[in-house]
């Protein structure tokens, strides 16, 4: 049982920003978003304004977007390419390596002013990558990213390995929001149970697209608590997948292509893993706020809490590089938009449900509890369950509780 006040109480929100978002690894961006040296993106994580960039030497870096002098943002663009950043306020200039290039009227400071890099841009305390996904951590003492990701790595691998070349981010992110607590979206992203009740209009579309071949029934698959609040649901896909499950809407030519992709996967990874990669879908939640859903398309979704009752959402499409310029990418993007995003046939209804939960959570005084006990076995360890169990939500809340109760700094 979850207290509904956990979605509405500003004190809980402040505690989460302090103990979860200032201590856990947070996804900042993908290596393929920064093509050339000098490319940068500004992002906001845990209320910190950041610059994620590739410096003049080709190294990935992430800085707090704040001038060491008087605190203005040194970069006010959402993206671009720059060899240096000029602060508009007093004209301090920084290399994209973070190093101070010049300050205003240096002759008026003591000779050793700026020693020890104190005039340089401040890097985020920790900045690490796993298979193209870059994360930051505001806790100097955090364990390594690899250790934190733990059991999620195998699922990231199974997604990234689908590409013959590499996975890359296609275009820009969709940027939207929800007037709801961030934990409601975490719960929703790893919830299969809601699909038939909430998304019948999407299922109707899928049935039309597949000529009635894609029918929902009992799904082969399972959900797993991956530790640290992470979880995954992996099950047979009930829709077409660019890699690699054909549907009639895509035509006979596509069938040949998709069969060839499947054959490549079998050759490279063996039949068992190839079946998982192509015919199974997975929803992966990396605690606290990253979702990688390898479903009818691959989406990378992160959400930033802004208040107890409001979050910002960023969503990217991930695709194999070899699909560029081919009908395969078109199919993948069409699949994406059918379901996902603020204009999709499903996501707007998710947002509606989350906002409905948020409005109703204000009745917590008389109706205090959310129930997440579906599929709970009091005699088991609650680590593996059926696809429609609420085990992933319980895994999330166990991770949440462990972080909030963690003592020390």
């Amino acid at each position: 049982m979850i207290s509904r006040e956990a979605y509405t109480d500003p004190a809980v929100y402040r505690l989460e920003m302090d103990r979860i978002f200032s201590r856990c690894w947070l996804y900042v961006g993908h290596s393929t978003e920064l093509g050339k040296p000098g490319d940068f993106k500004t992002r906001t994580l845990a209320d910190r304004s950041l610059i994620f960039l590739k410096d003049r030497n080709g190294s990935f870096r992430c800085f707090l977007n704040v001038c060491p002098h008087r605190g203005a943002q040194v970069c006010r663009l959402r993206e671009g390419n720059a060899r240096s950043f000029n602060c508009i306020y007093h004209g301090w200039i920084f290399e994209n390596t973070g190093k101070s290039l010049s300050i205003a009227e240096p002759e008026t400071y003591s000779p050793n002013f700026g020693d020890g890099g104190r005039n340089d841009l401040v890097p985020v305390p920790r900045f690490e990558e796993y298979r193209g996904f870059w994360f930051v951590n505001f806790d100097h003492k955090a364990s390594s990213l690899k250790e934190y990701l733990g059991g999620t790595c195998d699922y990231i691998d199974i997604i990234v390995d689908q590409a013959a070349t590499e996975m890359h981010i296609v275009g820009n992110s969709q940027e939207y929001s929800a007037r709801a607590n961030w934990k409601l979206l975490a719960e929703n992203s790893i919830d299969i149970l809601h699909v038939e009740a909430l998304h019948p209009t999407y299922l109707d579309l899928v049935a039309t697209n597949s000529g009635g071949a894609m029918k929902r029934g009992k799904m082969q698959g399972k959900c797993i608590d991956l530790g640290n609040g992470h979880s995954v649901i992996e099950r047979q896909a009930t829709y077409g997948r660019p890699i690699a499950q054909w549907i009639s809407l895509w035509g006979e030519e596509a069938k040949v292509e998709i069969d060839a992709i499947y054959a490549r996967l079998v050759k490279q990874f063996g039949e068992e893993r190839a079946i998982r990669m192509s015919r199974y879908a997975r929803n992966l939640l990396i605690f606290p706020n990253l979702v990688i859903n390898d479903i009818m398309s691959i989406t990378v979704r992160s959400f930033q809490p802004k208040a107890a009752d409001y979050m910002e959402v960023n969503v990217w499409a991930l695709a194999p590089r070899e699909e560029v310029g081919t009908p395969a990418l078109e199919r993948r993007l069409s699949n994406f938009l059918e379901f996902l995003g603020p204009g999709g046939f499903a996501t707007p209804d998710d947002i509606e449900a989350l906002e409905s939960c948020q409005r109703a959570a204000l009745s917590a005084c008389e109706a205090p509890w959310n129930d997440l006990s579906k599929g709970f076995d009091p005699n088991g360890d609650d680590r593996i369950g059926d696809t429609k169990d609420e085990l992933p939500q319980r895994a999330f809340w166990r991770g949440w509780q462990a972080q909030l109760l963690r003592t020390g700094t």
Partner: protein
């Protein structure tokens, strides 16, 4: 029969106001009749080139004729939860310009402001930007074969959704 070059700005404005009225009144199957069977309805992402191909980059909406028909069907159902009960919308069209005939299409641009009031949440969201149409002549009159809605808001915040047709 009239030819494309015979349509005046006043004619086009009438078409646009009719379209806006049908959308405001949730008469979506009738609205669909204003478009060709294979028409596309495009809402590019707000960052990036609004004319990049939806086959190569991520849009917000990139409906072909099939998906546009399905979108209209969806919004007619009570299970389109984001828009049931229907929100109240008002579309305002202005700055209508005829941009000439190109490859057999009459190109038209206008500004739009769409206000959406949601009865559930009590919130009011405003969408604004520019719309670009490509019209063709048919025996039934003027039909649109492409509508591109280029939003000028930086992000769908705090809107959170694009559950109505712009």
């Amino acid at each position: 029969m009239r030819e494309l070059k015979d349509w005046t700005r006043a004619d086009i404005e009438d078409w646009l106001y009719t379209e806006a009225a049908l959308l405001d009144e949730w008469r979506l199957p009738e609205w669909r009749q204003l478009f060709t069977e294979d028409a596309s309805y495009l809402v590019p992402n707000m960052a990036g080139d609004p004319y990049a191909s939806p086959a190569a980059t991520l849009y917000l909406i990139a409906d072909d004729g099939h998906h546009l028909t399905e979108r209209v069907k969806r919004l007619g159902k009570k299970t389109a939860h984001a828009e049931y009960p229907h929100s109240i919308t008002h579309r305002t069209i202005s700055n209508v310009r005829l941009l000439g005939i190109e490859n057999g299409d009459l190109k038209v641009s206008c500004n739009f402001t769409t206000n959406r009031a949601n009865s559930q949440s009590g919130v009011i969201d405003t969408y604004f930007g520019r719309q670009e149409y490509k019209f063709v002549q048919s025996t039934e009159g003027l039909l649109a074969r492409e509508k591109r809605s280029i939003l000028s808001i930086g992000a769908l915040r705090p809107h959170g959704r694009l559950s109505i047709i712009l």
